[in-house]
């Protein structure tokens, strides 16, 4: 059963549900099963307002990645999803994909072009933007992640930390309103992780990040959602949830 710990938040959610347009992202009663029959999400509801920074934590197999893939319409489950006032359906998909910037866990999956430039240009190009605008966007996105001089580099020559930054730039070039990150700090050495946290801290947009990195959650994301076995089991301020030893242990998590 979903337990919502914070009453303030419950009020906020209620207002969100009454005025879904006030919410940047609203997921209502979302359920999803894989073709092999494995049920990954059960009646998940989640509301995020513009400017919020939300952590999505839980053990492996809890459904975090599955949920994230729904926010971009890559998976289409049963239930309602609204993003920036648009109902998720086939017609709105291209617009929604521009609003939701998905950063996948493994940058080698996300950086599929030979050069950095081509990868960052992929999103804007497929949004149908004219050539000059594509160039401007690539330049700006690379500048935002501090990688301007990397445009002509080959992706396979980059370090893990550099790849992560470029992966973020590939979605920034689409001007998203919400940044959805799957395990942003996975596979990074301490220095690269630190510099990534600093980079994410500067990002003004709404953010939803799934992670096992509790220190990153504590530093960066004021609100935490805990998932387990396809359910949202807790949703509240990070400070409160991360001090609730019993709750964390019940879902295979550790205090930072």
């Amino acid at each position: 059963m979903p337990i919502v710990h914070d009453t303030h938040l419950q009020d906020k959610l209620a207002s969100c549900i009454e005025h879904p347009n006030g919410c940047l992202l609203a997921v209502e009663n979302l359920s999803f099963s894989y073709p092999d029959g494995h049920a990954a999400l059960h009646n998940v509801s989640l509301h995020i307002e513009a400017g919020e920074k939300v952590a999505l934590v839980g053990p492996n197999g809890a459904g975090k990645s599955t949920l994230m893939l729904h926010l971009n319409g890559i998976f289409l489950g049963d239930g309602q999803i609204q993003i920036a006032g648009m109902q998720m359906d086939k017609a709105s998909l291209p617009l929604i994909r521009a609003k939701v910037g998905m950063v996948f866990q493994n940058p080698d999956d996300q950086l599929f072009s030979p050069t950095v430039f081509e990868d960052v240009a992929f999103g804007p190009l497929h949004m149908g933007l004219p050539e000059a605008e594509v160039h401007a966007r690539v330049e700006r996105a690379l500048e935002q992640v501090g990688m301007q001089i990397y445009a002509q580099r080959l992706s396979h020559h980059l370090s893990m930390g550099e790849k992560k930054r470029i992966a973020i730039a590939t979605v920034l070039a689409m001007n998203p309103e919400i940044l959805v990150l799957d395990e942003p700090s996975a596979g990074l050495d301490p220095r690269a992780r630190r510099s990534l946290i600093e980079l994410l801290r500067q990002m003004p947009m709404t953010m939803l990040a799934s992670t096992h990195d509790m220190r990153l959650v504590q530093e960066l994301l004021p609100r935490t959602v805990i998932m387990d076995q396809g359910h949202i089991v807790a949703d509240g301020p990070t400070d409160e949830l991360l001090t609730d030893q019993a709750l964390l242990e019940a879902h295979g998590l550790e205090q930072p």
Binding site: L69, N72, G73, I74, P94, R97, A98, V100, M102, F104, N106, D108, D109, Q110, L111, F112, S113, P114, T115, E118, A121, F122, G123, L125, H126, M127, E131, V134, H135, L154, S155, H156, H157, T170, V171, M174
Partner: protein, 267 residues
């Protein structure tokens, strides 16, 4: 771990490097073609071709030694042409016996053999110069401009990107196998029968296949997430400049000269 030795691109700043990749691809193919249709024993034309290649490589500031060292990849194939020495009729130059075989080398056969060898050797150096002076992504653009079907160009582009990722993965698999198949010192034969060893290798290939298959699904998702709808769009970073045209024409003129020389002065 990176398998960068794959990439033979040499970063320099030269006119050859800056040349439009389309011109480089077309000129390289035409020159190799010219090589192939030069008659046997056209030594002067071969020398001219090689001189031109040398000039280009110096111009591109890529050392001829690099070309020559790399050109030996085609050497094992020379064995295929050895038979020409002894089977093409002509004046006997020398003869010898290997066990019960009596072999006679003919002059025409020798000319043929060395002509094939030189054609192959010069051609492979041309291809090496092309790769050494053109970043691979530019070659991919050139192919797209040259009307190779989109799906093939896109497949090549993806293959190039994941070549390195999957090769790294393979090297890790091979290393893991190596680590597990430790043997008692002094015992050379290890790891069971050939069949068993083949099965281990095959399982690695199967595992690699599944990982690759699943990776392609994740990549597809990442493409969808950034607005991919079935048609791959690309920018066109290259535009033919007057210097590209000029060099293309010079190369064509050289080609004609080489052919004229080759047809008039062959041994």
């Amino acid at each position: 771990m990176h398998i960068n030795t794959f990439d033979h691109y040499q970063t320099r700043n030269s006119l050859i490097h800056r040349l439009d990749p389309r011109v480089k691809v077309v000129v390289t193919v035409l020159l190799i073609l010219s090589n192939v249709i030069l008659p046997d024993g056209a030594w002067l034309a071969f020398a001219l071709t090689w001189g031109m290649l040398l000039f280009c490589s110096l111009f591109a500031r890529i050392s001829p030694r690099f070309l020559i060292t790399r050109s030996f990849v085609a050497l094992p194939f020379a064995f295929a042409a050895v038979t020409a020495i002894f089977t093409i009729p002509g004046q006997a130059v020398f003869e010898f016996n290997i066990s019960s075989w009596h072999l006679t080398a003919s002059d025409a056969g020798l000319i043929r053999f060395f002509s094939i060898l030189i054609r192959g050797w010069i051609s492979v150096q041309m291809a090496i110069l092309l790769t050494a002076s053109t970043p691979f992504p530019d070659l991919v653009h050139a192919l797209r401009h040259l009307r190779i079907p989109d799906i093939i160009v896109a497949t090549i582009s993806f293959m190039y990107r994941y070549l390195f990722v999957l090769s790294d993965e393979t090297v890790r698999l091979l290393r893991a196998r190596e680590a597990r198949s430790a043997s008692l010192t002094g015992k050379r034969k290890r790891g069971g029968s050939i069949r068993w060893r083949a099965r281990v290798a095959g399982s690695m290939a199967g595992q690699l296949f599944l990982r690759s298959y699943e990776r392609s699904e994740r990549i597809y998702n990442a493409m969808l997430a950034r607005g991919y709808r079935g048609t791959l769009m690309t920018l066109n970073p290259h535009e033919m400049q007057p210097k590209d045209w000029a060099l293309g024409v010079i190369a064509l003129v050289m080609l004609v000269i080489i052919q004229i020389v080759g047809r008039n002065y062959s041994g």
